[in-house]
């Protein structure tokens, strides 16, 4: 027995979201860019023409060579192939983004869930700490942390992580506040479910759309932040290929050796753009899902 008008043959939420995502040409373009960059970065050892140029030594016969065969994007001042170094730079940037987000997201999400659901003093303490971090401009905070740490890849990631989690705490706090007033949370409470169950099994699944969208958008921003730090000389050190350092290094030779800065800059632009398009597409797709 069912209610009148019940056989609603609606598409399930998930497939509606997928359809909305792939129906948007910009999201698809973003996805193509992201997938291409990730595949290139993963297969860097095989797809780059001069993998030995990752180190300090290049082709001394072709230092600062303009784009021409066999160096299609030109070489840097040490005679190293720019294309090779950009692909390896992508690999480093992506590893950094994944590590930073893998640490910052769970911390921020747990803080946001607990503060949003418990309220009262718990909320007050957690959210004021979050606000302190949010009040300082992110790059300044990261620079301050890097100021008293060794400029290494690991410390760079630590500095960026320290300023990234509060954004997740703030986002998930707001989502949790809204979800906590929903009837299904009240139902779980009256049934006698534990706080852990309510936070992680009832509310968290409803935060996933917000988390996934923000993480995708953030991959681009973390890469940009890491590049900014290394541009300022506070991040990854030579000879490790890093997109930000390459732009900084090449800027000294502008405009004569324009390729030194231009290609790495375009590479940063492309990866940030790709992840942003995918992030925007995801947000719209989740909205379509309702």
């Amino acid at each position: 027995m069912s209610e009148p008008g019940s056989p609603v043959i609606a598409k399930r939420g998930g497939s509606r979201a997928v359809a909305a995502f792939f129906g948007n040409p910009l999201s698809v373009a973003g996805l193509v860019i992201v997938v291409a960059i990730v595949l290139l970065a993963l297969a860097a050892d095989y797809v780059t023409p001069f993998p030995e140029h990752v180190g300090p030594i290049g082709d001394f016969a072709a230092m600062s060579a303009a784009p021409a065969s066999p160096y299609m994007l030109g070489t840097d001042t040490m005679g190293r192939d720019l294309f090779t170094r950009i692909i390896y730079g992508y690999r480093l940037s992506l590893i950094m983004a994944v590590v930073v987000l893998a640490i910052a997201t769970p911390i921020g999400v747990i803080v946001g869930l607990v503060a949003g659901y418990r309220g009262g003093w718990t909320e007050y303490v957690l959210m004021r700490i979050t606000d302190v971090f949010l009040a300082v401009p992110p790059l300044v905070l990261a620079m301050a942390i890097m100021g008293f740490l060794e400029p290494t890849l690991l410390n760079g990631m630590l500095a960026i992580t320290a300023m990234w989690w509060p954004w997740y705490a703030r986002l998930i706090y707001n989502v949790t506040r809204a979800e906590a007033s929903e009837g299904y949370v009240l139902a779980a409470e009256t049934v006698g479910a534990s706080t852990a169950h309510i936070l992680f099994r009832e509310i968290l699944p409803n935060c996933w759309p917000s988390i996934l969208t923000k993480m995708t958008l953030d991959v681009g921003f973390v890469i940009l932040m890491a590049s900014s730090l290394s541009f300022l000389g506070l991040g990854v050190q030579p000879p490790t290929p890093d997109l930000g350092s390459m732009v900084a290094e090449g800027a000294k030779y502008m405009p004569d050796a324009w390729w030194l800065s231009l290609w790495p800059a375009i590479a940063i632009l492309l990866v940030v753009l790709g992840f942003n398009l995918v992030g925007d597409g995801l947000r719209e797709a989740f909205e379509a899902e309702g």
Partner: protein
């Protein structure tokens, strides 16, 4: 026999911005086992405050709530929580959109470890069938289900706790008339079959006349009148109750048919 639930000089005052608002004052009321006790009154009469106090979602500022003769503490045991369940007004928000229907109904079974875990899926299907749904619905998402179907699922979830008392907070007010009649029939059938006690909170006196055995009328946080449903409707003692009843038209032939059908537990009514 001890009443299943007693409110003893119960009071609740809210403090806000230096003002205090009395939501409930000096309410003493007993609920007998197996009855469907309607709580009626206008908005702001204290109906929802009673529900929240009975469910332990807020603490009284005066008096106490006794369940089977025992005072309910501020922090209730699992057993005490399990015994008193709730069916909410809005079936659209009562189910988690990101969990399957089966997961929602199974939750109480897992929380209270009711039955061996390998038999719980079967128990979920049996509960869904008991409220008139297909057991296969357990695998579906609540999205795309009608209000009536969702309310039946919420009722199945409450039943899964094997409660003694269910607080029904306007359970049919968000449903259209036809669906409302069927859900009321279901509720009546379950009460008789499981020996449940209902606290039925509503402002719809036609529904009260159809399903309740006793009625308590509230106004501005105070109990105005209480008694068997026939007595209250045929011979209201206070002007306020007369006024409330006067706002409802006399029993129409359709309403009488619905009431008789619900009381008879017939599945034919409302169609």
């Amino acid at each position: 026999m001890t009443p299943i639930l007693e409110l003893d000089r119960l009071g609740k005052t809210f403090e806000a911005d230096g003002h205090s608002v009395v939501a409930l004052a000096d309410v003493s009321l007993a609920f007998e086992r197996g009855e469907c006790h309607a709580i009626v009154g206008e908005s702001g009469s204290g109906k929802t405050t009673i529900a929240n106090l009975v469910l332990g979602l807020m603490q009284p500022t005066e008096g106490e709530v006794r369940f089977n003769g025992v005072k309910l503490p501020g922090l209730r045991s699992r057993q005490q929580k399990r015994a008193i369940q709730l069916v909410q007004q809005n079936p659209l928000s009562a189910l988690n959109p990101r969990r399957s229907v089966g997961a929602s109904v199974r939750l109480p079974l897992d929380v209270h470890e009711i039955g061996p875990s390998r038999e719980r899926a079967g128990r979920v299907a049996a509960l869904l069938e008991e409220v008139g749904l297909d057991g296969e619905m357990a695998r579906r998402s609540p999205r795309g289900l009608s209000g009536g179907q969702r309310q039946r699922i919420a009722i199945a979830r409450a039943l899964a706790c094997e409660p003694e008392l269910i607080v029904l907070d306007e359970p049919t007010s968000a449903l259209d008339v036809l669906v409302q009649a069927r859900v009321l029939q279901l509720l009546h059938r379950l009460r008789v079959a499981h020996g449940l006690t209902y606290i039925f909170i509503t402002h719809d006196l036609a529904v009260v006349r159809a399903i309740a055995t006793r009625v308590s009328v509230f106004q501005k946080g105070r109990l105005v009148e209480t008694g068997p449903v026939e007595a209250i409707f045929s011979d209201p003692k206070t002007a306020y109750t007369r006024q409330l009843i006067g706002a409802v038209p006399v029993v129409t032939p359709e309403e009488a048919k619905l009431r008789d059908a619900i009381r008879a537990g017939s599945e034919a009514a409302g169609t």
